[in-house]
Symmetry: C2
Subunit: 397 residues, 2 copies
């Protein structure tokens, strides 16, 4: 888009490799329309509450998972007593995960517990090898390190299969990759993913790799004879292009379309214009950060919607729409009443940015410390156990 | 090329999926120049004879394997007592092989025996799934059926590993695929292989699959710790584009470039304008043909360079350059003296087409019957044994 004087407005770009917001932050409504997915409305959240007999996860209650594709189909079959499975993943490009990385896993753990269903977690080490300046060996190492953080989120080893592409691809999985690849023309892939002529063949080869965990027969050790088992994919909305492609291909090769439930992006400390970046240590809180680091980062970098002086703040109150501490609390402060109270007090100028940040520092410190304690207990043997190619006899219990 | 009146001249096209000759048949000299490979001259054939202490295979003596890339390097290291391995393959698109399909395997068997080296044989069932209207299951079945014909050529199970892509891809092999894919841009692939925008991602994904058996560490059960082991690939020259790409990539990912030894095409019964076609039963002699079928096909379809009448033939003799029976005898009549005798007599009109065809029928019938007897003895257990992922402790003996 041409940048003119005065009225420059950058177009938002959201795909699996780039998230850049327009001037006013990510326009999620526009994204839903552009991608052609559905809004996740209050009625659907109520239905989840009713069917699972428990309060929906705060990510759901607060609209952080805000869009879906055929999630109602999944609820229909669950209501009829039928089964489905969950599929999520991560591209292991960095050693330490930041809080944004935990979001889909925290939510997936909730779904696994609420619906009592099996889960496959794909670590796309091949993708990161293709897109980053990393060796195969390094991406494999990172996949294993990341698996430890994922396991630390509390997944049930009796219902969870974690695999890395370099470790697992072959056999039935590779056959499915070939079947998907045969259904997608290069033109179509360029339309969906924006690959260029100077991009390498690895990029062109990859989309089927992320597609096929949506098909149960990619996991014969788990789902033998259950070719029509439905799949639900919790993910951030930037992954939607992969699954648009997958849903297009699925019926042509004899599978059900996967359903999706899609989240907003977790904002950088500096504000909501992008996702957090693993490459800028000051843009994010890492699961490895100390309480001191968390305190410093929040106090120093978390973008405030408060006013410039106490007097002005008391008078005008905070702008919650751009305030990062409030956005973070919206994700991680579980108590709805307290959150509402803070938002009200802050908005009306009775609470100061410093006080909100204090509360956020406490919430994040506790959460990160809990994660670190759990992570410290994850042994190599546990990683082996989660990643073992094995049947899961109790996966639907 | 524009087809004008009178002087139409079609350009020859040779790539892994299409071989169409210009007006005067395949111009192999032009091909060598175009592909940038080297001519396999008499001095090199003599060197093979000297180093192996045996008469070179008639395919070599008669220039049927006529081009190479760095074959002299392989002979250099063999002379120094160093090791290498052989790699060849087949795309399993049809049940029955024709004689042209046997040529690389007959030659590879000779190389294996003469140099006492291990051999990997790749059955590219994925390639055929991508390029043909076949299911995954059908290409897998064909791969196994074709393996039986290949085994019937007499390979040594103690030195030979046969694998199909759908059966073997994974682990170290998939890692190598990724490393190759990352080195080849889409533009480069289009330049080498001529893929179009409407071609599917499977085609774009495939070249690395055929490349990586050139790298010893794709076979950790065979070549662990021998990452610099050299590879020699016997194949028909239409496969050269794959290995041009492979040789370009090899040093960039830390491997030796594979060497090649490349053959002419085995002509169709109707003449030398194309390779034999597995889809036209009358264009080829199949390894499943009966003696009666061979007799009928040769008599009825084999293009003759003889004259239209006996009188004229006695007077002018045969044109050996276009005579298919002579071309076939050139491949399969092992006795050099007898072959020379027949060519001389036929060329000078003393021998008639019918007599030459008689001799050819006898040679082919015996060869096909021998193949059929060997094929009948190939059990499923033998296929399993050749395709088992296993070390080959005696592979260099």
């Amino acid at each position: 888009m041409r940048k003119g004087d005065g009225e420059e407005e950058e177009e938002q770009v959201v795909n699996p490799w780039e998230v850049s917001a327009g001037k006013g932050g990510i326009d999620y409504d526009k994204l839903v329309d552009q991608f052609g997915c559905q809004r996740l409305d209050a009625a659907l959240v109520d239905r989840v509450a009713r069917l699972t007999g428990r309060q929906p996860h705060c990510f759901l209650r607060r609209g952080l998972f805000f869009a879906h594709r055929d999630f109602n189909d999944i609820l229909d079959l669950y209501e009829k007593g039928e089964k489905f499975y969950l599929y999520t993943g991560r591209g292991p490009s960095s050693e330490a995960l930041h809080l944004g990385h935990l979001v889909p896993f925290m939510f997936t753990k909730y779904l696994q517990e609420a619906f009592k269903v099996p889960l496959v977690i794909q670590l796309t080490d091949d993708e990161k090898f293709y897109w980053k300046d990393l060796t195969v060996e390094e991406t494999k190492r990172l996949a294993r390190e990341n698996a430890k953080d994922i396991i630390a989120c509390g997944f049930d080893v009796e219902k969870t299969f974690i695999f890395s592409d370099f470790g697992y691809i072959g056999g039935a999985f590779y056959e499915k990759m070939a079947r998907v690849a045969k259904c997608v023309t290069k033109n179509k892939a360029v339309g969906i993913f924006g690959f260029s002529s100077e991009d390498h063949l690895g990029k062109y080869s990859f989309p089927p790799v992320q597609a096929v965990p949506s098909f149960p027969s990619s996991f014969p050790h788990l789902f033998a004879g259950q070719d029509q088992l439905r799949c639900l994919i919790p993910c951030a909305i930037d992954q939607d292009p992969y699954f648009r492609m997958t849903r297009d291909v699925a019926p042509r090769i004899g599978y059900q379309k996967p359903s999706l439930i899609e989240s907003r992006f977790f904002p950088a400390l500096q504000g909501e214009n992008t996702k957090m970046s693993a490459s800028d240590a000051n843009s994010a809180i890492y699961v490895t950060d100390s309480a001191k680091e968390i305190k410093t980062k929040v106090n120093k970098y978390a973008f405030s919607g408060g006013q410039d002086s106490i007097e002005l703040h008391r008078q005008l109150g905070a702008n919650l729409d751009v305030d990062v501490p409030i956005k973070y609390l919206n994700f991680f402060l579980e108590d709805d009443d307290e959150l509402e109270h803070i938002k009200k007090e802050y908005k009306e100028g009775r609470m100061l940015t410093g006080e909100v940040k204090q509360r956020l520092i406490a919430v994040l410190s506790e959460m990160v410390a809990r994660h670190q304690r759990a992570r410290a207990l994850v042994t190599e043997e546990m990683v082996d156990a989660f990643m073992a190619v094995r049947p899961l006899p109790n996966m639907f219990c």
